[in-house]
Amino acid sequence: MTNKPTGWEEIPQINRDLLAPLQTTTWRYFLWVGILGCFVAAGLGAWTYQIQTGIGQTNLHHPIFWGSYIGSFVYWIGVSHSGTFISGVLRLTNAEWRRPVTRMAELMTMVALIVTALFIFYHLGRVWLFYYLIPYPNQRGIWPNFRSPLMWDATAILTYATASTIYIYLPLIPDFALARNRIQGWRKTVYRWLAMGWHGSQAQWYTLETAIRIITPLIVMVMISVHSIVGFDFGMALVPGWHSTIFAPYFVVGAVHSGLGMVVIGLYVLRKVYHLHDYVRTEHFEKIGQLMVVTTLLLAWLYFSEQLTVWYGKIPEHIAVQDSLLYGSYAVPFWFMVNCIYVLPLITLVWPRFRRWPLGLMIIGLFINIGMYMERMLIIVPPLGHPRLSFQWVDYFPSFIELTILTGTLALALLLYSLAIKFVPVISIWEEKFGRTHGQHH
């Protein structure tokens, strides 16, 4: 035995550390889950009330037919890009620092996708007929209309949900096998079933790694296509302020921007709660901070291009929308948003010292997400509120019922995430171990 550390001696410690959240639960966790449960119940109550009485419980009115639900839909789809972007792109580029981050981010993708789907249902005027949207042979004799961008959207999201389920599941198999070996009781049965007979043979590792190598580039492409299509929902429409070719790239970059912000928040909170300082280190925050500088600049460039084109073009109906943002009735949220997602991240994150301050990064992540949420709302409401026939110009602010549903859904996302980390190791154990024993030095 030499004294030179090889990485192998850390393995028992890694197993213990990373399985700990699955094995021990404090009263604080139950309190947290209970509080979230109350908010979820309130949201569910509000939704039930809305279904029973009518979609008029929102503050929507013509011509603002889409509002906070669609805005939230776009936002949450964006958050779901965090996982795929972080883990997909970083796996592709073989970035060594991805290891402790991928699982947390992939879990966010799953949770965000479930939440996203909910907003479609909140939004429908007659939600009990949602199955009209599903293409299956039916006695109504009507197929959904695939000329509608909404159908492209539904298809894309379903593809994305399927693909990301596979994508998160594959790297989970060895971890499930470990949990199967370490955890007793009824959960052992579940893990045994999920581990699919994994025993870590050379052939199994080879198959798994090949599968991951195949699905990774695919999922990155699906991710880009999904948010492009969400952008098309707007870009294809005639509405002034929507009808623009820039929406697809802008939406994709915006999604990654808010997704990175969300990942930083998740990393910070999980690290603090589960004492993962040995795994999630300052360098990880630093790397994400660098990525956030890139997305901030990219997004600002796209946004500027869009606004400049409108401003220079001086088409009256487009200018009406822009004026309402720059100094009209939406000026306050607009400039707040600009500060949150462009100015603030840029003036802080360009400083290397700031990027090494996890709390600071988490706060910037929060601001980016608040800003991106508002940005999604501002994409929807001002253009709809300024139709070409100016007699119909109106304003909109979400109703109490809408806000309750939005809050309840946020609570649901947090709840699902909290439940998931009791079932799934938040850091990919085998990838972490692999990194320490075989990976490049970090």
Binding site: Y132, I142, P387, L389
Partner: protein, 245 residues
């Protein structure tokens, strides 16, 4: 002139029907009295919204009079613009509906199939004329108003999009009568409620395929234009410019 009025592209080229229903709105005659709005409500079982909903901007009108002010005080003029569904030949509301609730009839009408509508409201966003109206709640009529509902027109439930149909129930009656008598529909056989009630005859309705119809004459009289013509929606409603300026 007005090639677009004639060149009905797309749908109507394959139209099986001999008719092409169109409307003319003579802005020179419109006084903004809103009799058309009232008649439309009575004819089409449009829900009564009440004061509160109207204040929220949710009053449903299949036809509305838009009022624009022109000039500076004291030299101010009110201009009226009746707007209803333009029954576009290339209707932006149609392709975006995921369930085919918004569809084009062979006669060039833009129809809304209430049963299919699930209320995604994309059509409402995409209509540049803001012609589409949404039922935010189930309809309600105070007694005895419920007794006066038109039996020829569906009452729409909450969560469903609706809009002007050119009084399709009257079109159907007119066609059936003509069919029974073994003839084509004559000009003036069919009058939608708004047209019927307009005291100044600012609204004219008829079959544009009939070269002798008043609609066919008026829309080519040199004053004709389409609302937001640059969008290329090819509306079935032709507006006639004011003469006074």
């Amino acid at each position: 002139m007005n090639q677009e009025n004639q060149a009905v592209e797309g749908y109507s080229k394959k139209a099986a029907s001999p008719y092409k229903w169109e409307m003319v709105v003579d802005l020179d005659r419109c006084t903004g009295c809103e009799a058309c709005v009232l008649a439309c409500h009575a004819e089409n079982n449009i829900r009564i919204s009440g004061e509160e909903e109207a204040a929220q901007g949710r009053a449903i009108n299949w036809i509305r009079i838009e009022r624009y002010w022109e000039g500076e005080y004291p030299d101010v003029k009110a201009k009226f613009l009746p707007v209803m569904c333009q029954h576009c030949d290339d209707a932006p509301c149609e392709p975006v509906c995921p369930v085919y609730a918004s569809y084009h009839t062979p006669e060039g009408l833009n129809a809304q199939v209430y049963n299919r509508c699930i209320g995604v409201r994309y059509c409402g966003n995409n209509c540049p004329y803001v012609a589409r109206q949404f039922n935010w709640f189930d309809p309600h009529w105070d007694e005895p108003l419920a007794e006066q509902l038109n039996p020829d027109v569906t009452v729409r439930s909450g969560g469903v999009m609706e809009k002007c149909t050119f009084c399709v129930q009257r079109i159907r009656t007119g066609k059936e009568t003509a069919e029974k008598e073994g003839r084509r529909v004559k000009d003036g056989d069919i009058t939608p409620a708004c047209v019927q009630s307009c005291p100044t005859s600012a609204l004219i309705f008829g079959d544009a395929n009939d070269p002798e119809s008043r609609v066919a004459h008026l829309k080519n009289n040199g004053r004709g234009f389409h609302l937001l013509e640059s969008l290329g929606t090819h509306p079935s409603v032709t507006y006639l410019r004011r003469l006074s300026e």
